[in-house]
Amino acid sequence: MKLVTAFIQPHALNDVKQELYRNEIYKMSVTNALGCGQQMGYHESYRGVDIEVNLLKKIRLDIAVNEDYVKSTIDAIIEGARSGEIGDGKIFVTPIEECIRIRNGETGRMAIG
């Protein structure tokens, strides 16, 4: 089992969800995040004083999947989130050793979906 974690542009969330659904991936967790990357940020000002905003709004997606779903999950995220511009984000894949469904104690491959 793998955990696919993606940082994407907030406005891409709907499209990404759509793509995931199309690939029959229905479960995920979403968190608000701030990101700092190649997309350098921008400048605001407040009462005449410049503010450098280099933590940009991002959305973090965590999707736990079985091995055979990893590729389609990644592809779906890319499909939904890619605009080709800097700031589109990153996907990280990490190993999961165990997964438990709290409701009924199911574990492993059964629990993940």
Partner: protein, 447 residues
């Protein structure tokens, strides 16, 4: 300040030594005349202050019903439409509205309110806040996508030209509609419809916000873009309702008019049934009583009663408000789902549609012998007044739609009316003003 102390010594004098001083100093008739003026003065200035405060109400309603990322822009629009509008109404607007008439169509002198005496200053003060109300209505309908510079241009033009001219027709005492017997006590048409129709033209010319109407299975459907702060929206409605006592009651224009109480009562009851009507309608239509619709309903009732608040009975007011409350929900749905025009706060329905309803309602519910308008249909007055009311509504609607479409068209072709899609996504606070309205708050936004 010397004068302060002196006046107040004199006043103290009255309280202690009684009458003698007074009777000797001032002639009774003069005193009575002064008092009559004083009544009108304090009444209209206080009423004007209340109407001014409605600007805060509009700002809060509009902020509440839109997204956090545009709140600062809405603040700027509401602050600046009053500010530039007041200067415009001072320089030009008042003259076109209350200057010497040209054939009942347009005023022509008193630019820069030159030569104004105390009475004119008082009336200007009371009128400028009405002009600003008309102007600011539009801001909500055009929220979340309009270029700030374009909005400034629009503000000047409506306060200087569009509002005053139709106002002249009705409120100048010598306008063609007024002469026909058209009755609009406090401005269902003169103020609210003008704002409402300008809002309609604006939102059509702008187009919908990104993400408002999306293709789903080949069909365009309306999506909700929820407002971010209901408490502020509610506060705004309470402020508006509060200010409306200045708006309607002040429109007696006289502090010694004993009709003030009647106006206050009809205003209160219509607002109440407006809220009730909208609540019930939303309950039936959507399954649950909807807060933002009920809030709109109160405003709808207020707009509805504004034209007739001085000539209808309390029962009449209850019905006018109730109908306005129902109407506003149906109208919001129709405009959103059928016409697919994107009006984030329901300004067209509240001010345009209910403004017309209120104007028409005068022709139906006006009491016999009210001294201001012909008797309404229900009281056996026939359709005469109703016809005039309809004609007036229609004329003003045509005038406003025509001029604002031209105005927005010209703006669109020159400076541009709308921010680009990237700026809209980012929010106008960042793109137009380089700031954030809720610095530090974690806001989840994917639209």
């Amino acid at each position: 300040m010397k004068i302060k102390r002196i006046i107040f010594l004199a006043a103290a004098g009255f309280l202690c030594t009684g009458t003698a001083v007074f009777a000797d100093d001032i002639d009774t008739a003069e005193a009575l005349a002064l008092y009559s003026d004083a009544f009108d003065m304090i009444w209209l200035v206080l009423a004007a202050a209340l109407v001014f405060f409605m600007q805060a109400g509009f700002a809060m309603v509009e902020i509440g019903l839109t997204r956090a990322k545009n709140a600062g822009n809405i603040i700027m629009k509401n602050l600046m439409d009053f500010s530039v509008g007041a200067v415009a109404f001072w320089a030009v607007g008042w003259a076109l509205m209350y200057g010497a008439t040209r054939g009942g169509f347009i005023g022509s002198d008193q630019f820069f309110i030159i030569g104004a005496n105390a009475a004119t200053l008082r009336d200007w003060m009371f009128q400028v806040v009405f002009a600003a109300t008309a102007a600011t209505i539009v801001s909500g309908a055009m929220a979340e996508r309009t270029k700030f510079t374009s909005y400034l241009i629009y503000s000047v033009v409506i306060s200087a030209v569009i509002y005053p001219i139709s106002g002249h027709w009705i409120w100048s005492g010598v306008g063609w509609l007024g002469n026909l017997g058209f009755h609009d006590f406090a401005g269902s048409t003169v103020v609210h419809s003008v704002g409402g129709w300008a809002a309609l033209a604006g939102s059509i010319m702008l187009g919908a916000r990104e993400g408002k109407y999306v293709e789903v299975d080949g069909k365009k459907v309306s999506k909700a873009i929820p407002g971010h702060n209901m408490p502020l929206a509610a506060l705004g409605v309470f402020i508006l309702w509060f200010g409306w006592y200045g708006f309607n009651c002040g429109s007696t224009l006289s502090g010694t008019d004993l009709g003030i109480a009647g106006v206050a009562v009809t205003t209160t009851l219509a607002a109440s049934t407006g809220a009730i009507g909208a609540m019930i309608t939303s309950w039936i239509q959507f399954g649950k009583p909807d807060p933002s619709m009920s809030l709109n309903g109160a405003l709808a009732g207020l707009v509805g009663i504004t034209a007739g608040c001085g000539v209808v009975s309390s029962t009449g007011a209850l019905i006018i408000g109730l109908v306005a409350g129902v109407l506003v929900v149906l109208s919001v749905e129709f405009i959103d789902k059928v016409l697919m025009i994107d009006d984030p706060v329901g300004a067209v329905s509240v001010h345009g549609v209910c403004g017309v309803w209120g104007t028409i309602a005068v022709g139906i519910f006006a009491l016999p012998g009210n001294g201001m308008a012909g008797t309404g249909l229900l009281y056996g007055g026939g359709a005469a007044q109703l016809g005039i009311q309809a004609l007036g509504s229609l004329s003003v609607m045509s005038w406003v739609l025509a001029t604002t479409f031209i105005l927005f068209y010209v703006i669109k072709k020159t400076v541009g009316l709308r921010v680009d899609s990237k700026e809209e996504l980012e929010g106008l606070d960042a793109s137009e003003h380089g700031m954030e309205s809720y610095s530090g708050f974690q806001i989840f936004s994917n639209m």
